[in-house]
Amino acid sequence: MSLTLNLDFQYTTTVEKLWTAITDPSKLAKWVMENNFKPEVGYQFQFRQKPTEYWDGIVEGEVLIVDEPNKLSYTWGTGAEKHTVVWTLQDLGDGKVNLHLEQTGISNPQALNGAKYGWTSMGGELEKLLAQ
């Protein structure tokens, strides 16, 4: 049995800028990890960061869907976990863009709750940041 995580975030930006932020390797390095990502279907990439006691620091994936600037999907494999990530971008008007994350294939409730907890607490932080 696998689990799915669905989450939404709103950013004050344009769909094009958000698309670049989630597909350009130099931009991804600033908010995810060092990588050799390319938005090309079938391309195999790696995200890497310094290993910790609990994680070798490597994420391996393959690009599945590139529908610029609306949808991007890739596999996301690290350790025993093999997930599929789908990012969906939607223009909300008034300079706001919704970023939806769907992450499928999560193997157990602990991983799902961990991710959900992180995103939810982050939602509050994001709101504070935008209100400044």
């Binding site: 004050t12 932020a21 989630i22 600033k30 908010w31 991983a111 961990g114 991710a115 992180g118 994001l126």
Partner: protein
């Protein structure tokens, strides 16, 4: 992964609802003998004993003989491994999404 010398993976040990209930019961008491634990379940003492053995192999419980009975006590330390592992997922996503927001804000200012 962490270097541990337990006979059994702590994630495996907590995968079963009976064993999670046993951990909970033991967390509420200093120590308990088998018959007091068994009375909480609709299963025989042999079945409860088997679950206790699995918890013991994962380092989650310690037992000692007092006269003719065996008493069980919780050792919560191995649960830290679960805490750390879940913490990784939580921290990973929260940190990244904040960074994405910061990146987009910086680009706006340029």
């Amino acid at each position: 992964m962490s270097d541990n010398h337990q006979l059994r993976d702590v994630f495996d040990a907590i995968a079963d609802p009976t064993r999670r209930r046993l951990i909970q019961l033991l967390s509420e008491a200093e120590e308990l003998p088998l018959h007091e634990l068994t009375s909480q379940f609709e299963m025989g003492r042999t079945a409860v004993s088997k679950h206790l053995t699995i918890l013991k192999e994962a380092g989650l419980i310690i037992d000692r003989k007092v006269g003719r009975e065996t008493r069980f006590k919780l050792n919560a330390a191995p649960l830290q491994e679960i805490q750390d592992w879940v913490g990784f997922y939580s921290k990973f996503w929260s940190t990244n999404m904040l960074r994405l927001n910061q990146l987009l804000l910086e680009e706006e200012e340029e």
